[in-house]
């Protein structure tokens, strides 16, 4: 079983989010010695499960939007099944986050149930009681539209509920959950890596290696290069080919002692990989499953909002991701695609992360020309 972690050093101030700081400090108070390998394995499994659920919810909402176009024959049974799946996923995410953080999020069940009650009331209403967008809209399409408002479009029916304005719908709740989970997991990695600092001599990316199967003490230095994959993992190999592409880093000053220098963590398990790139704006996170079975494959990515949020969002959309933009992040999701397609996107998206880590990327480029320039240069 290949289950290893390459850990890099994280700038102390890399993650500025106050919530994460509070989680991190709580975590450190409880576990002054940092997480054990066993804790890390369990947390990793729970965290990756939560991300998969989030991706499924994003896909489900996008699918419901597509089905609302009027081009499909649908019925109430379909809307019921979408609703059941969405609330099941949301509850699963609350469970995962609570398990990951030591039951700190149990109260979120109540919030999900608020939306669920609203949805149940909607199903009990007759056609005439539903709001109408136009005289021609049929009952089932109206029901689907209002269901989607509860799920993902922040419509009036959901906003009128006494929930936090920042969480106007079910997908908003899910987005907050995945954000907090990402912050927590990034904090866990920080805690684990704090005793294993190994500057990289060849690139301005600091790295080290820990094998979870033998415990956290087995760290060693890895001179990472794009052409020297230190693992047999296919997704890690593809990720490193993109992230460490010479064309991106050749002009960078290899000063890994700089506390602002970016750093990279990759966690791999057979056909999957999770990577976190810490940098001066926060962190980017990637979770990938690459297998010969397309239906099992997926790719989740999370970028810090700065720099260039519009450019990041548009590039991900152009690559075919379902994209959600939050206050401090941009997330993308694709699934059920052949290995070669996800591998190609993994390489492109990891290049994107590395490109935006360069100091020269701080300037503001027009999104349209920026997308074309990026795709022309890096794909």
């Amino acid at each position: 079983l290949c289950f290893s972690v390459m850990i890099s050093f994280v700038p102390v101030d890399a993650i500025q989010h106050p919530y994460m700081k509070s989680l991190f400090s709580r975590f450190l108070q409880k576990k002054p010695d940092g997480p054990s390998a066993q804790q890390m394995r369990l947390s990793l499994a729970r965290f990756r499960h939560l991300l998969r659920l989030y991706g499924r919810l994003v896909s489900l909402c996008a699918d419901a939007e597509d089905k609302q176009s009027g081009l499909y024959i649908l019925d109430k049974a379909y809307i019921l099944s979408v609703s059941d799946r969405a609330f099941g996923i949301a509850k699963g995410m609350v469970y995962d986050l609570s398990a990951l953080t030591g039951q700190q999020y149990g109260g979120l069940y109540d919030l999900v149930e608020v939306f669920e009650r609203k949805q149940s009331e909607l199903f009990l209403q007759s056609g005439s009681a539903l709001s109408t967008a136009g005289n021609e809209e049929e009952y089932e399409y109206r029901l689907l539209r209002e269901t989607r408002e509860i799920f993902c479009s922040g419509g009036n029916s959901a906003v009128s509920w006494s929930v936090k304005p920042a969480i106007p719908d079910l997908l908003g709740v899910a987005q907050s959950i995945q954000r907090d989970a990402c912050h927590f997991f990034a904090g866990l990695v920080q805690a684990m890596s704090s005793a294993n600092e190994h500057p990289n001599s060849t690139l301005p990316v600091r790295t080290s290696f820990v094998d979870l199967m033998i415990g956290l003490s087995g760290s060693s230095r890895l001179p990472l290069r794009a052409d020297s994959n230190p693992t047999d993992s296919v997704p890690t190999g593809e990720f490193l080919k993109g992230f460490l592409a010479p064309a991106i880093w050749d002009h960078a000053c290899p000063d890994s002692t700089d506390p602002q220098a970016p750093s990279l963590v990759t966690v791999e398990l057979e056909e999957s990989m999770l990577a976190i790139a810490f940098h001066r704006h926060g962190y980017d996170l990637f979770d990938v499953q690459l297998s010969c079975a397309p239906e099992a494959n997926y790719f989740y990515c999370r970028f810090s909002r700065r720099p260039e949020p519009s450019l990041k969002e548009e590039i991900l959309k152009r690559l075919g991701f379902f994209v959600r933009r939050g206050d401090d992040e941009i997330t993308g999701w694709i699934d059920s695609q052949p290995l070669v397609e996800i591998a190609a996107k993994l390489k492109t998206v990891s290049k994107m992360s590395a490109v935006f880590l360069q100091p020269s990327s701080a300037g503001s480029e027009q999104p349209e020309s920026g997308i074309d320039h990026f795709l022309r240069t890096y794909t």
Binding site: Y72, I73, L74, D75, A77, Y78, E138
Partner: protein
């Protein structure tokens, strides 16, 4: 050649309401039902080329409809449409003699394609263009 006779059975009115005009455009002779008993009565009166039926309905499930259609005429092709699609249900339906299986939601063009395949199996050329696009 006689138009293909198609019966559509779904207890949710929206299905027949949308499918009837969509399939009539192709020149199919379409009858729609929301009540399984009324549909079975009509099937016993006349021979349809294709029966399109939901699986989960109030009163009678689609698999029972399939049995009754086959008891009346082995020639009639049955296509299932369902919002509760699963590999198990699809396998069961096909093993009992269903011609096709389409998961809801679907585009009318998908059903049109399945009906044309059924037509081909019956030795009918099928209809590949809407009426107003012919000539």
């Amino acid at each position: 050649m006689k138009p293909l006779k198609v019966l559509i059975l779904d207890d949710e009115p929206i299905v027949g309401r949308h499918l009837r005009p969509a399939l009539c455009r192709y020149g199919f002779d379409v009858e729609t039902f929301e009540n399984p008993d009324q549909a079975i009565a009509r099937i016993n009166e006349t021979e349809f080329d294709v029966v399109v039926t939901d699986i989960r309905m109030k009163g009678m499930d689609g698999l029972r409809v399939l049995e009754m259609v086959m008891a009346k005429s082995m020639r009639t092709k049955v296509i299932f449409i369902t919002g509760y699609a699963s590999r198990e249900i699809e396998r069961e339906a096909l093993s009992k003699g269903a011609f096709g299986f389409i998961a809801k939601p679907f585009k009318p063009a998908e059903l049109h394609m399945a009906i044309n395949q059924a037509a081909k199996a019956l030795g009918h050329p099928g209809i590949h263009s809407p009426r107003n696009e012919e000539l």
